[in-house]
């Protein structure tokens, strides 16, 4: 044992963040923590590119503690299990309208109110029509609202029974206001020229604040069109597609139809626990996760080649191959790349309906998959060599991340063995447990902060990862006037300077620079619910799943203290969601406060130091 305190720095290279913890280890093995730092990980975790980030973090910690690199006795690196995660999403349903049977796009300003049923006639032919059975007037592009109204009024004056209108432009209210006899009017039908003429059609517009009642009811459609039971069975999807709309048009054509088709996406093959299980991706998350549980511990997963699943998994595997394989120096033994965990989440994607006449959107079902890929080969050696070279300090590769995290977590006030940690990262949720006897276990499960961001991104059709990440990280607000916003908890905040008009009446996230609008027609609570549900479906599900794998006998009740760590433990609501879910098992759960000061950060880095001190010769 050395006779002076040794200066060591633990470094944790994560997928997103590299953290350092500087400490002095006294000859009697007591540890004095001197400073910490964190920086973005450079390059893909476990590759030589990480060196820059490591140096930044180590130097940062030294600077904060007022020490020099020359004083360092050792750099301790985590083992950085080569675990990466991949994300993919597949739409499994598709809505198709044939023969332009249905217009259900919910324009913001339909006109009139009520239900009109009649034969479709083009406005251009209205003056040739004789009085007779009711007609629904279809107005092509380019007509002015006053001309539309006067043409319809003239026909009505001649005794033609015009009971509704369908317009190309955004003129429904204007036209309705000018009709001598009020009828429901649906507008903004972009492809109005495709509306079949000479067919029976029904147009319904509900009062403001209400939704249609007849066309969204299968038997309402049957009544309106006089359908027989067999035909009724066929229009049932039309009724369902129109549910919740304020207005709609349904045209009865000989074989018009709306179908909700399942897209074949292929089969997932899971190998583990001595069996091979096959599960159709289209059956949804519940069945997939059931199969994953039965194949526990999972050894590998494959997707049927040539199918969507096949492509998804191949892609994740390829990324991993790139990571471990490119560097010639470490070639040799064949690299084994296996998928050790899969998380499937049911989700939906707003998608344009095929065959729609007005850009109708429908929420299609989809399945998001996160896969956890590991390999037998690590390239941390070369990271260590480079760090040693740059700093001129012995660089050691320390213990397994999860096990180190537990040690770090134990520095949180109030925590004792047996303790389990949940490291809520970007790509994976890692759990580790240390029991009363000092035995520890650690697992990685697929799916974490990145998947949450992705779900928010796709469910809100943002197509902007940064906006989705903002939504994830901060409470929402609604801009209620040019001078104030209302936070999601109902409190109001005023601004002295007027807010820009592009955020007016928008749901926003509040960045220090000001409100950032979320490009969506949905209200604050809808966005909030999507945000919370995404977090719940990833982190609450994974917390339970991961803890079951480390708890004795898979029984959560054997756990006592659970400490939440990692970047996603900084979230303003994820920790409380997990604590709520675990409370039922008698578990004490909270966000870690590593070293009593670092919050949920730095557990692995400080754990490396602690393990090193305990094992010191």
């Amino acid at each position: 044992m050395p006779d002076r305190a040794r200066l060591v720095v633990g470094v944790d290279i994560g997928n997103s963040t590299t953290e350092a913890c500087l400490a002095a280890v006294a000859p009697d093995r007591t540890v004095s923590y001197l400073g910490t730092d964190l920086t973005r990980t450079t390059g893909v975790k476990g590759t030589p590119d990480n060196t820059d980030g490591v140096l930044t973090a180590v130097r940062g910690a030294l600077r904060r503690a007022g020490r020099a690199a020359a004083e360092l006795d050792a750099v301790l690196l985590n083992e950085a299990t080569p675990v990466i995660s991949g994300l993919a999403m597949e739409t499994i349903t598709e809505t198709i309208i044939t023969e332009s049977t249905m217009i259900g796009h919910n324009p913001a300003t339909p006109g009139g109110q009520g239900l009109g049923v009649g034969t479709t006639v083009s406005l251009t032919e209205l003056d040739e029509i004789d009085p007779g059975p009711p007609v629904v007037c279809v107005v092509p592009h380019g007509w002015d609202f006053e001309d539309i109204a006067s043409t319809v009024n003239a026909a009505v004056g001649r005794g033609v029974d015009v009971v509704a209108a369908v317009l190309a432009g955004d003129d429904a209210v204007l036209v309705a206001n000018r009709l001598t006899r009020p009828v429901p009017v649906v507008d903004e039908v972009a492809a109005v020229e495709k509306v079949p003429l000479g067919m029976l059609a029904a147009v319904e517009v509900a009062a403001a604040g209400y939704t249609i009642r007849t066309l969204s009811n299968t038997y309402g459609l049957a009544t309106v069109f006089g359908l027989d039971p067999d035909q009724t069975r066929h229009v049932s999807p039309v009724a369902r597609a129109l549910t919740g709309n304020r207005s709609a048009v349904v045209v009865r054509t000989p074989s018009g139809d709306v179908t909700d088709r399942r897209i074949p996406v292929g089969t997932l093959e899971l190998r583990g626990s001595g069996k091979t299980l096959r599960v159709d991706l289209a059956t949804g998350a519940e069945e997939i996760m059931d199969a994953v549980a039965r194949a526990q511990p999972l050894e590998d997963a494959h997707g049927e080649p040539g199918t969507h699943v096949g492509g998804m998994l191949a892609q994740v595997r390829d990324t991993m191959a790139d990571v471990v394989g490119q560097d010639g120096e470490e070639a040799g033994s064949p690299v084994e790349i296996a998928i050790n965990d899969v998380l499937a989440v049911d989700t939906f994607v707003p998608a344009e309906v095929r065959g729609g006449l007005a850009g109708e959107m429908h929420l299609e079902n989809a399945v998001a998959l996160a896969a956890m890929v590991s390999t037998s080969r690590s390239r941390m050696r070369s990271v260590a060599e480079r760090v040693a070279e740059e700093l001129g300090v012995a660089t050691l590769i320390g213990g397994v991340e999860g096990k180190m995290a537990v040690r770090g977590a134990l520095t949180t006030p109030g925590v004792d063995r047996p303790v389990a940690v949940l490291d809520l990262g970007g790509g994976s949720t890692d759990a580790a447990e240390l029991d009363r006897e000092g035995r520890d276990t650690a697992v990685h499960v697929a799916g974490a902060g990145e998947l949450v961001t992705k779900l928010i991104d796709s469910e809100l059709a943002l197509d902007d990862r940064e906006v989705a990440e903002n939504i994830k990280r901060s409470p929402l607000a609604k801009v209620e006037s040019f001078f104030h916003v209302r936070h999601e908890d109902g409190t109001v905040q005023f601004f002295d300077e007027p807010l820009p008009s592009h955020v007016f009446a928008r749901v926003v996230t509040l960045a220090p620079e000001g409100p950032t609008p979320i490009p969506t027609r949905h209200g604050l609570d809808h966005v909030r619910q999507i945000r919370r549900e995404a977090k719940r479906r990833v982190f609450v599900v994974n917390a339970v799943r991961a803890l079951r794998q480390v708890a004795a006998g898979g029984n959560l009740r054997t756990l006592d203290f659970v400490v939440l760590l990692g970047g996603s433990a900084l979230d303003f609501e994820i920790p409380e969601m997990i604590a709520d879910a675990l409370a039922g098992y008698g578990i004490v759960c909270g966000t870690g406060n590593v070293l009593g000061t670092e919050g949920p950060r730095n557990a692995v880095a400080s754990g490396l130091v602690a393990a090193h001190a305990a094992a010191a010769p």
Partner: protein, 131 residues
């Protein structure tokens, strides 16, 4: 103090200069009407509506902006529109600084632009996103 005469029906007030193109005014009003918000058109002679803002007596953007602000001030809904003699238009809100209109369009605008002017005014009133 006519700006909030509580007797008048709530409406977006449209101030127009004499000679303002009829079709511009028509489309602007149509834009608001489609959104279900009434407009009240007031013809304002000369260019004196910029009087709060003595420096801006020139024609063009400044005039139409000041005119829209005055229209907003006289609206119970706090929202005003102005159309000048050559067909330029602006939307304003009574609580915004005079020189910061919500939106403006030039004389070379299209029917769709004018509709949008009316729609924007109406959507401020309704508290809906402007675009």
């Amino acid at each position: 103090m006519t700006h909030s005469d509580p007797g008048s029906r709530p409406a977006v007030v449209v101030h127009v200069r004499p000679g303002a193109p009829e079709r511009v005014l028509r489309e602007i009003c149509a834009g608001a009407e489609e959104e279900g918000v009434p407009t009240r058109v007031v013809t304002v002679p000369g260019r004196s509506a910029g009087e709060q803002d003595g420096s801006m007596r020139s024609t063009g953007e400044h005039d139409v902006t000041a005119l829209a602000h005055a229209a907003a001030a006289s609206s119970r809904l706090d929202v005003g529109i102005a159309v000048d003699a050559v067909g330029a238009a602006a939307v304003h809100h009574g609580k915004l600084p005079a020189q910061r209109p919500v939106t403006t369009v030039e004389t070379d605008a299209t029917v769709a632009d004018w509709r949008r002017v009316g729609r924007t005014a109406a959507r401020i009133v309704k508290g809906l996103p402007l675009s």
